[in-house]
Amino acid sequence: MAVIIFKATEKCNANCIYCGVVKKANQEVMDFELLTDIFKKINVYLLKFPKEKVSFTWHGGEVAMLGADYFVKAYEILQAECPDTQKRIEHLVQSNMTALTQELLDIWKKLGMNSIGTSFEPVDGIRGLGKNRDSVAYNKRFFQGVNLAEKNGFKWGFIYVVNKKSLENPMEIFHFLTNMNLKSSPMMNKMYDYGDDETGLAINQDEYADFLGALFPYWWKNRKRYASVKPFNMFYESIINGKIQMGCEYMGHCTNKWIYIGPTGDTAQCGRAGDFGIMKYPSIKEHTLEEILFHKDRKPIDERQIKLAETECKDCRFWELCHGGCVLDAYMSSGNYESKSPNCGWMQKFLIKYFEPVTGVKINLYHPNSKKRIQENKNQKAEIKK
């Protein structure tokens, strides 16, 4: 499945302290001519690969800023340009929920969406609306959005960005977040620091590991109650149940699957690459989707896997949980694609210091030869092309 992180706009009504998109201050909105061209190219791609599917994530900025009319027009274009392939395009949406309208939800439903990915922060002053980052207004509108979405049968799940303030009382944060939405538990991601943290809120590898470690014994004891809290359930499924279910950063197979498309047709490896303006590929305007997904500049990502398994990550017993981590993080921290991700730090610490002692499980997920995985990826690509 090709995963398109699609940003028709990067405008946002919010001003979250850790957001890379807000810093870009890009006010562009994709025109319908380009949108038509993109759907045409998706159609060509799907017609060429009849077994392939496309996951199309409407992302931002804040997608609701596009307004319902934009989506109505997008739906019409989709009908016109992808008459035989639209069933193989799965539309997903990320929204901060603060600007939802009935009209938006109506057209999202028409596009086949039934859930919304979002984010929330209990501590004031981190997420908020407008220049003053008004958290009170943000949270109020967030819950209004939740109510409207639920009334329309939408589910919602959310990400929590662990930051310096979260470290003050991890259990309180955990309970607050898990109480908010019993249908879907939070994904607790690390706030990133690429050396330019002006906020003082970014956390280091040890701090993130210790944050998770403070929660893990409680989670483990009550794992049926909090079954879907991430990243714990990803480790649980992968290590205890033997089904490797880590996030995209750790699966080592994003090479030819992911693409970011921005408001002017610029492309990059994934959403975060697009946000930070790195790992860029040519514009979708001049190239087909296939050309960008299989662009030669992606090759080092595959090669990285082989090199890491033979060098830095050699003999690592957590290899299958991480595969050297996200290439983007590696590039951001070291300036090259070939090193392992710095996230190795938190993961190893968490697993060794907390996961193993609490569960009593000794992890041994060393992949003796990462070339096997590369071969699997190649086989997968060959399968798509069949």
Binding site: F143, N147, F176, N179, L182, K183, R225
Partner: protein, 290 residues
């Protein structure tokens, strides 16, 4: 009138009002025992009587139970049980009744008596009467309700929490006391609809007529009631951080003490509910000798 599939309609015994309903679940509230049999017959003519709930200031042992009440599902809200001597004297009659007894939690003796009645097979419960609570005593009762291996009748609200708990839904145990407008609606003698018993007493009605019940989903008061929990997360109240939020939903916000005693109780109750559900999932143990 559209058939109300979900709601139980709570009202006083008023034959004229009851005659307007057909095929509904009706719960009658009263402050006397005078018309119990008549109530049973009238309601069951065209509707289904859920129970008759009597709110009285008499102790249990001062009530004279008539033998022909045994066909009537009866819930009693009483200040106390009364003397043990009288209670044991009445026990054979009580056991023949279709009866639930609720006592206010603020009196420690009531907590003991609820447990004692349950141990003798009488369905009993406590209700929270907005007075100081001895949380340790309540915890003992909850523990008895959820873990005791000796046979006993259900103890509310712990029985409700144990049997209805789902890990992916909040649970409002106010339903035990008919105060959940998703299950119960309170109707006054003019046919006006209130969302809870308290709102009925205050004369605050969500609907001007029971004929509008099918519009409830869109009703502002009803929507506000169902989203009122969000205030805790906007104001970041102590309850929003409570591990037992999902089964309590901030009911004791105004009486939280320094030890967070209510939290301690409901965390135990939550674990008891999970334990109960887990036990029910297991297949019964086979006795190999048989």
């Amino acid at each position: 009138m559209n058939k109300l599939k979900r709601h139980t309609l709570v009202m006083n015994f008023d034959e004229n009002l009851i005659s307007k309903f057909n095929g509904e679940n009706i719960l009658i509230t009263s402050d006397s025992f005078n018309l119990l049999n008549r109530t049973y017959d009238v309601v069951n003519q065209n509707n289904k009587l859920v129970n008759v709930t009597v709110y009285t200031q008499s102790a249990l042992t001062s009530i004279k139970f008539l033998e022909n009440w045994n066909r009537i599902p009866l819930a009693l809200y009483l200040p106390s049980m009364g003397s043990y001597r009288m209670f044991f004297h009445m026990l054979p009659v009580l056991r023949q009744m279709n009866l639930r007894i609720y006592l206010p939690v603020s009196n420690n003796q009531n907590i003991i008596d609820v447990q004692m009645m349950a141990s003798l097979g009488i369905f009993a419960g406590i209700y929270f009467d907005k007075k100081p609570i001895n949380w340790e005593k309540v915890k003992e009762l909850a523990f008895y309700s959820q873990y005791s291996k000796s046979q006993h009748a259900p103890v509310e609200p712990f029985h409700h929490i144990s049997s209805k708990y789902k890990s992916d839904e909040t649970l409002d145990f106010n339903a035990v006391y008919y105060n959940d407008p998703n299950q119960f609606l309170h109707i006054n003698n003019e046919g006006k609809v209130a969302l809870t018993y308290q709102l009925l007493k205050e004369g605050k009605f969500a609907l001007e007529s029971y004929l509008q019940i099918n519009t409830l989903k869109e009703n502002e008061d009803f929507v506000n009631y169902n989203t009122a929990w969000q205030r805790h997360f906007l104001d970041k109240t102590t309850c929003s951080y409570c591990p037992a939020w999902r089964i309590c939903m901030g009911k004791f916000e105004s009486s939280i003490d320094a030890e967070k005693s209510c939290q301690q109780l409901f965390v135990e109750v939550l674990e008891g509910a999970e334990n109960h559900q887990e036990k029910n999932k297991r297949k019964p143990e086979k006795v190999w000798q048989l």
